[in-house]
């Protein structure tokens, strides 16, 4: 502790993005299996991810800081045994993203750069908030997964977590805001009952969903979002990785909800 980290391993996509965005990319020696951004990180060795961290490889690389996910208790225990310092991260709300950037910057010893990055993200978010202020807030359902070609096993954002916070900041009212969970499994009856004005589907990439698959929603014709053709597909990694690109993601959300405000 206290000493600047020079050899950092980050196996979580969002923290890898944070480290590179704050200019500490040259200190990162290995990343996780699913860390697809930024491009300059892609040549680094990959040492597993959430469920399959390669502990042996991690220890062998002699890092002086390992960024792990909060639920990786077994990995943390083994790092402790090896006397290796780690930073435990977990997805929470929108505000936690910038506080994580600052905390991580302190651990790596680039406080000023981290603070600059966090402040920039905060400014961008404040700008979006200002643009959509005083506009009607459509009741929005944020869907991030379902069985392909059908409306089965719909996963939507509940009233907690960064997706919920992003939606509320982008000028939408969360259709599941009263359910205090990050993720809600929805039935078709729940979608009909909640009657959202807008349905936004988020996917990490174009490949993760077929555009024609959006027609599945047409079965629920009584839902205002379907009736008024406000079922929107947004794709991009920034929607599933709560990192420094969160402001871009929020901006896209806001532009989808309030196209007039972003002309």
């Amino acid at each position: 502790m206290g000493a600047e980290a020079r050899r950092v391993i980050s196996i979580i996509p969002s923290t890898t993005e944070m480290l590179f965005a704050m200019g500490a990319g040259d200190r990162v020696i290995a990343i996780g299996t699913y860390d697809r951004y930024p491009p300059e990180a892609q040549t680094l060795p990959r040492v597993g991810a959430l469920i399959d961290p390669n502990v042996e490889q991690i220890l062998q690389m002699r890092p002086d800081l390992v960024v792990v996910y909060g639920t990786q208790t077994e990995l943390k225990r083994r790092l402790e045994r090896a006397n290796l310092p780690y930073y435990s991260y977990a997805h929470k709300g929108l505000a936690d993203i910038t506080s994580t950037i600052r905390a991580l910057a302190t651990r790596v010893g680039v406080d000023a750069a981290g603070d600059a990055l966090a402040s920039r993200v905060e400014r961008q978010l404040a700008d979006i908030r200002a643009r959509v202020a005083n506009r009607p807030r459509p009741k929005t359902l944020l869907v991030f997964g379902r069985e392909p070609g059908s409306l089965r096993n719909i996963n939507a954002s509940g009233g907690e977590g960064f997706l919920h916070d992003m939606l509320e900041l982008a000028g939408g009212s969360d259709a599941l805001g009263d359910i205090h969970r990050q993720s809600v499994d929805m039935s078709t009856e729940m979608v009909l009952g909640r009657a959202p004005d807008v349905i936004i589907e988020l996917r990490y990439s174009q490949d993760a969903i077929n555009r024609s698959d959006m027609a599945a929603w047409n079965r629920l014709a009584a839902v205002p979002a379907v009736k008024n053709h406000r079922v929107i597909l947004l794709t991009g990694e920034e929607f599933v990785v709560p990192g420094p690109r969160v402001a871009d993601a929020t901006r896209k959300l806001a532009a989808a909800l309030h196209p007039d405000a972003f002309k």
């Binding site: 699913y34 991810a49 959430l50 469920i51 399959d52 997964g145 069985e147 392909p148 070609g149 059908s150 409306l151 089965r152 096993n153 996963n155 009263d178 359910i179 969970r181 809600v184 499994d185 929805m186 039935s187 078709t188 009856e189 729940m190 009909l192 009952g193 009657a195 990490y204 490949d207 993760a208 969903i209 077929n210 024609s212 698959d213 079965r219 629920l220 014709a221 009584a222 009736k227 599933v240």
Partner: protein, 331 residues
């Protein structure tokens, strides 16, 4: 006998009809029947009608089919293998269906066949594929296969297919793994009638097979040699039973996911009520399986409203204690 059959069918039939009529009326949103059937409101604008016809009715129908199909398959597997622990899951059919579903979920493919989406299709293909393997093993021995060999072969194939499934899951993205876990919990919210109609084809074929079985299953449960001595063609019966039970299981799993507990527990509950005669057990299990799963799904979608519980959890929570109570009552 005819009187007992009529009485059994009437009793369990009434239960099924009652659950089919009551279940669509209850749910997490409140609807008014007068609005549901109000023809003056266009369907596209009638939320109550859509909740009733798009969300609830297909769900009740799916529960009825899945419950009946798994219960029938359970009865047949238990009789055929002469093992009270046999279930639709025993011969690897379920593992095949699960492997198929995983492939469908991780491939990110999006195609439909007669209105049925990719995951039900691949899981049905997996079930039929597993059946084919078991069938080849059963047919490899000319004079039928002893139930123990069949059982062990089924377990081995199940383990193999499960391992393949785990390997795919291990290679897959975390989100795909999450979707698989979700699929494994079972869901009857099919959202349209196409998959229900599609499942009726294999289920209908299976029922034709089941219809030939009651008497011979009674004889087979006494032992294969005894059955053969009384003129039963054991090999043929075994094949019909295997194919029918597997088609039935495949139809059920592709529609509702792996809620196999229904297939173990319902036949036993029914036998405790009507006795061991398969002429009674088969139809009664179908009817009771249907009403049991409709009731479980009703609980699943209302008990922790506004959110829902996976139906697979409810079948075990309700079925387990109920079964124990039946076992120990009156002792």
């Amino acid at each position: 006998m005819r009187r007992r059959l009529a009485l059994t069918l009437a009793g369990f039939g009434a239960l099924t009809v009652a659950s089919c009529l009551l279940a669509p009326l209850v749910g997490s949103t409140s609807i008014h029947l007068s609005r549901v059937f109000d023809r003056s409101i266009p369907f596209a604008d009638n939320v109550d009608a859509q909740v009733f016809f798009v969300a609830r009715l297909p769900r009740v129908a799916a529960a009825a089919i899945v419950g009946a199909a798994l219960a029938l398959a359970g009865v047949v597997f238990q009789a055929l293998l002469r093992n009270p622990l046999a279930s639709p899951d025993t011969l690897g059919v379920a593992a095949g269906a699960t492997l198929g579903a995983m492939l469908g979920l991780t491939a990110h493919a999006d195609f439909t066949l007669v209105g049925v989406s990719v995951v039900p299709l691949t899981s049905f293909a997996g079930a039929v594929g597993a059946l084919a393997i078991v069938f080849v093993i059963a047919a490899a021995r000319r004079r039928g296969t002893s139930s123990t060999v069949l059982l062990l072969a089924g377990i081995a194939i199940g383990a193999l297919l499960n391992a393949a499934g785990r390997f795919i899951q291990y290679l897959a993205d975390v989100t795909d793994t999450f979707r698989t876990v979700q699929w494994l919990m079972g869901s009857l919210d099919v959202g349209s009638y196409a998959p229900i109609l599609a499942s009726l084809v294999p289920f209908g074929l299976a029922c034709i097979g089941f219809a030939t079985l009651p008497r011979v299953l009674d004889l087979i449960s006494l032992g294969e040699d005894a059955a053969e001595a009384r003129g039963v063609d054991v090999v043929r019966t075994e094949r019909i039973a295997l194919v029918s039970a597997s088609l039935s299981t495949g139809a059920a799993v592709s529609l509702g996911g792996p809620v196999f507990f229904v297939g173990i527990i319902v036949p036993h509950i029914v036998r405790l009520i009507v006795g061991a005669d398969h002429r009674l057990v088969l139809p009664a299990s179908a009817l009771f399986g249907a009403s049991f799963l409709i009731a479980c799904d009703l609980v699943a979608r209302t008990i922790i409203a506004p959110v829902e519980m996976p139906v697979g959890i409810i079948t075990a929570i309700i079925g387990g204690p109920f079964f124990l109570w039946l076992l120990f009552r009156g002792r």
